[in-house]
């Protein structure tokens, strides 16, 4: 029986090869997308879930409680010690302080050490971290990490530095200052972890480092890269720890106010998808949106299948009648049709998997991800594919199968099966409308995301990104020489030493006390150390007062308009020559600059102060004269390397730095463009198939109408009016849904584009255009055909 089903299914697919091809292609594409989306969702949901104690591990985070609550990723240095002594139900607690940048010097035979600049690889850790996270040791001893100046490396890093993994006892130097001895080698880290540091050095080393030692017992400072991880004892709940926090806070208070820092245990497994405390730029809502898009694509492909199958059912009606007269039951017929569907779906799955395999590397590049088909994700992937196949077989095959199996033999033998009429056709309308709705929602979504990115790109940031680039200032020692020498290069217009450019992800937030007000202000100021050339180099506009005078220490402040507003002063002039205490230094405010975007567009503009605190300089900003920069850049590099031979040269143009603020939006844009394109393409395949059936069915009608005097446009209208009506109905459904979803998305941005009618018109018109191109050709062909021919063939 199964052989017979297979045989007839195969012959049928071959006979209707166009139809089969459209179906296999459409389903294959959507299955490929679903698979990729599944891999991506699965990957992101799997982050840090593989640790044996993941369920009972927390990271201590801090809410900074000012006029608004600011969530913060880190916790103070003494946190782990306090947790250990305070709560017996905490099994282990450990500090983990990642350094964003580290220069590692590895001695070699030549005597001149090899230098490596490592980003996000270096971290100070307490040895307890190995009893919390799964960081398996390949060789060596974790206990040795209690000693200062000891380090563990991953195999990858060991091979990179020393050419092999037998490296115990070898040494390296960190930031040209501190020496470390390797005491163990770790297995390479999996991709799905946010704890990606591969050079783990002993926490106790910090006791002898002047920049860290004074703060190790300090509850007053927190850094985003310094975490406290804690594993609770089995059976104890995170809520229990959270409930104990108010008491804990009173005991280990911040000197100023116990309310300022509110500590909170946050589950390790939830960290990756949390934008407040986590480090990823993937949000749960994006994963949901992706899953929804995957479902959309699947529905679109299944709709194609159902449409084409029911349109085709007429052709198969006679066969159904014959089979029933040969003694087939309804069930046997249903399964015969399901078998055909299954055959198409299996072919589509094969094509889908191949497509997914080929496109995965591109997806990884676009999304800046690291997703693989191999590895532990394989079993869930196979199960997903199996479930997906069964789902698609039933979603796509069940309805046409049921309809065809139910044909009355007597009626269908006469070739008058009732599919086409009332019920079948209105269902097909519903399905086509569904497809149009999905396409329009995706088109509108894509248009809104694009518009928002365009808005951010074209918007006035309040400073001129122009031809400005930055180079690092690794040591204070030579910075003034560096500045002078760069300024002397012809082609350089301005040079400024500063902490960071106006918009930056590195910030220095601190409290502020204005004039003689008794209390500190309930908000923080973003203090940006910068010299007197800063506002000219970056093109900041002075709205009141004057610029800073050159100095190496804090003598006076410049602030922005928001600073003035937050102090409730009526005009910028009022603040001039008043004193403010920022970061412990009292000095007059001499000027006010116009507001500029310091965070990108998703957040409010901060209160900002500039001051000539040269101890905080870490960047040198260079503005170029118009002209060919290549030669100038070369000279800047030479000058820099002369001053800092021990460091790594790096040059970043402001345009690139600012593009980083739009990174997650750009990723979303690319994704939604791709998926909207695919959804439209799949929809087109179906529409094309459907249109061919309609043309065939109406050939005779067209012939008769033409002999009765119908014109070509009149005939085209016969086809067109149906589609126009369906597209309009789809628009009525799609527009509010898309408006609601995209409006909610735009609310993430304090500064955003407006949802004008233009975007919706784009959605509607492009659907018309797509439908016209897909259906138009065949309709025109049918309309201009010679009626004598079509009538004769009947």
């Amino acid at each position: 029986m199964i052989y017979n089903y297979l045989l007839i299914a195969f012959r049928n697919l071959r006979k209707n090869s166009t139809y089969s091809l459209l179906n296999v292609l459409g389903l294959g594409l959507s299955i490929a997308c679903c698979l990729l989306i599944f891999l991506m969702v699965h990957y992101h949901l799997s982050f840090d879930t593989y640790h044996k104690k993941a369920d009972r591990t927390v990271r201590m985070v801090t809410d900074i409680n000012l006029e608004t609550v600011t969530p913060f990723r880190g916790s103070p240095n003494p946190m782990s010690k306090a947790l250990r002594s305070e709560f017996s139900f905490i099994e282990k607690a450990a500090m983990y302080a990642g350094r964003y940048e580290a220069v590692i010097s590895v001695p070699n035979v030549s005597g001149i050490p090899d230098k490596y600049k490592e980003e996000g690889k270096f971290a100070f850790v307490e040895p307890e971290v190995f009893e919390i996270l799964d960081l398996p040791l390949q060789q060596g001893d974790v206990a040795a990490l209690r000693e200062p100046n000891t380090a563990l490396l991953t195999e990858k890093i060991a091979r990179k530095y020393y050419g092999g993994t037998d490296v115990i006892g070898k040494t390296f130097r960190y930031d040209n200052k501190v020496d470390f001895r390797v005491v163990g080698v770790l297995r390479d880290l999996p991709d799905n972890t946010d704890y990606t540091n591969e050079i783990l050095v002993s926490w106790s080393t910090r006791n002898s480092m002047p920049e860290h030692a004074p703060y190790l017992d300090n509850w007053g400072g927190i850094s985003g890269d310094t975490y406290c991880l804690a594993a609770l004892q089995e059976g104890r709940s995170i809520a229990e720890l959270e409930a104990a926090m108010p008491e804990f806070r009173k005991k280990y208070r911040h000197p100023e106010s116990e309310m300022l820092f509110q500590y909170k245990p946050f589950p390790l497994k939830a960290m990756h998808l949390n934008t407040d405390y986590g480090n990823g730029n993937m949000e749960k809502s994006y994963l949901w949106a992706l899953a929804l898009i995957g479902l959309f694509l699947l529905i679109t492909a299944c709709v194609n299948f159902i449409n084409m199958a029911t349109a085709q059912a007429l052709k198969r009606a006679r066969e159904v009648g014959v089979r029933k007269s040969l003694g087939s039951t309804r069930g046997q017929l249903f399964w015969q049709f399901m078998f055909e569907t299954a055959l198409i779906v299996v072919a589509a799955v094969v094509i889908g998997v191949v497509l997914a395999m080929f496109s995965l590397p591109y997806l990884n590049t676009w999304m800046e991800e690291n997703i693989h088909l191999e590895g532990p994700g394989r079993l869930p992937m196979a199960l997903f594919l199996l479930a997906l196949s069964v789902l698609v077989i039933f979603l796509a095959g069940a309805y046409p199968g049921l309809v065809q199996a139910r044909f009355q033999p007597v009626v269908s033998l006469k070739g008058l099966a009732e599919t086409g009429r009332a019920s079948g056709f209105s269902l097909r309308r519903v399905l086509v409308t569904t497809q149009f709705t999905i396409s329009q929602i995706l088109i509108i979504g894509a248009a809104v995301v694009t518009a928002q990115i365009q808005f951010a790109r074209d918007a006035d940031w309040g400073f001129r990104p122009g031809v400005v680039f930055t180079v690092p200032v690794p040591e204070r020692a030579h910075m003034n020489a560096l500045k002078e020498q760069i300024a002397a290069i012809s082609g350089v217009k301005n040079v400024s030493l500063c902490y960071q450019p106006p918009a930056s992800s590195s910030n220095n937030q601190t409290g502020v006390q204005f004039e003689n007000r008794p209390e500190g202000e309930p908000w923080m100021v973003n203090n940006k150390p910068a010299d007197a050339q800063y506002i000219e180099t970056f093109g900041l506009k002075l709205v009141a007062g004057r610029n800073l005078q050159p100095s190496d220490t804090v003598r006076e402040y410049l602030v922005n308009e928001t600073f003035v507003k937050k102090l409730n002063l009526a005009s910028p002039e009022e603040i001039l020559n008043k004193k403010a205490n920022i970061d412990g230094v009292n000095a007059p405010i001499v000027g006010v600059v116009a507001d500029f975007h310091n965070w990108g567009f998703s957040q409010d503009i901060s209160a900002i102060s500039f001051t000539t605190a040269s101890s905080g300089y870490s960047t040198c900003a260079v503005e170029l004269q118009p002209g060919n920069p290549a030669q100038v850049l070369e000279q800047v590099k030479k000058v820099w390397e002369n001053n800092y031979p021990d460091y790594y040269y790096e040059c970043n143009f402001m345009d690139d730095l600012m593009a980083e603020f739009l990174e997650s939006e750009s990723i979303i844009m690319r994704l939604i463009h791709i998926f909207a394109g695919i959804a439209i393409f799949i929809g087109c395949l179906g529409l094309y198939g459907l249109a061919s059936f309609m043309v065939v069915r109406k050939t005779k009608e067209i012939g008769i109408r033409k002999t009765l005097g119908a014109t070509v446009p009149g005939i085209l209208w016969l086809f067109g009016k149906e589609y126009i009506r369906l597209i309009l109905i789809a628009f009525v459904i799609a527009a509010p849904v898309a408006w609601w979803a995209m409006n909610a998305w735009l609310q993430n941005y304090v500064y955003h584009t407006t949802l004008g009618p233009g975007i919706f018109v784009i959605g509607l018109l492009s659907t018309f255009a797509v439908a016209f191109v897909t259906v138009g050709f065949q309709s025109i062909q049918a309309a201009v055909a010679n009626p004598v021919k079509s009538l004769r063939s009947e």
Binding site: M1, N4, L7, I8, R11, N12, K15, R318, E319, G321, V322, R323, K324, S325, L326, G327, S328, T329, R330, Q332, Q408, P409, V410, L413
Partner: protein, 227 residues
């Protein structure tokens, strides 16, 4: 063998009923060869479809080998049908995508006959109808008469007790038609298969033993064929 009691078939069209069959009573004994005749639209085919359980009467009783068919659900009807009835159509209705061999095999697959027995039965019939050489051809490659031979062979493959034929020679030339009718006659006389045929042609009706004349859905008269 089968008995029809007050069979009615009508379609409700708003308030009016349009009747296809009215008060049809008939009795057909095992081994008979009955022809149903009548003008177009008199309900011949509908009656045949009801006999063949492909269609249901709106009212009335249908007894087949002592069983109340009108009370059966679709599954029981299919079982009964598979066991006892073979159908021959005017338009042959072979499945285009299957070869002659596979067309013959299909009813046996639905009856879940084991493979060995399927092979021997098909070989038997191919032999009997002299179409062994055609077994791997598709229907479109055969003449009308050959197609109808395959149609009859397919109807016979399940060893039915009753063959229902709906104008089996309607699409054939007279020479081929005569050959087909001879096959039916032989089946009836030598193998004892009960045959009910619908026909327009007096000549074909003469092959049978009894004629039911239908007019506007009623059985108007019955004739006995005299040789």
């Amino acid at each position: 063998m089968l008995e029809l009691k007050n069979i009615e078939k009508y379609y409700q069209n708003g308030a009016t009923k349009s009747y296809v069959l009215r008060y049809v009573n008939a009795h057909i004994a095992e081994g008979e060869f009955v022809s149903i005749m009548g003008p177009s639209g008199s309900g011949k085919s509908t009656l045949l479809h009801i006999l063949g359980m492909l269609d249901e009467p709106t009212e009335g009783e249908y007894w087949f080998l002592g069983e109340a068919v009108h009370k059966f659900n679709e599954r029981r009807r299919t079982e009964l049908y598979q066991q006892y009835i073979g159908f021959v159509f005017q338009a042959y209705h072979l499945i285009d995508d299957l070869t002659v061999y596979e067309n013959l095999e299909t009813p046996l697959l639905y009856k879940k006959v084991p493979s060995g027995e399927r092979k021997s039965r098909i070989a038997d019939l191919l032999d009997r109808f002299n179409i062994v050489a055609k077994k791997d051809l598709f229907p479109a490659q055969l003449s009308g008469g050959q197609q109808q031979l395959v149609g009859i062979a397919r109807a016979l493959i399940g060893n039915p007790k009753l063959i229902l034929a709906d104008e089996p020679t309607g699409n054939l030339q007279s020479q081929q038609a005569r050959e087909i009718m001879d096959v039916f006659k032989k089946l009836n006389e030598e193998d004892g298969v009960t045959i009910v045929q619908v026909t327009h042609s007096d000549a074909n009706a003469q092959y049978g033993k009894r004629i039911l004349n239908l007019m506007d859905g009623r059985v108007e008269s019955e004739d006995i064929v005299r040789k």
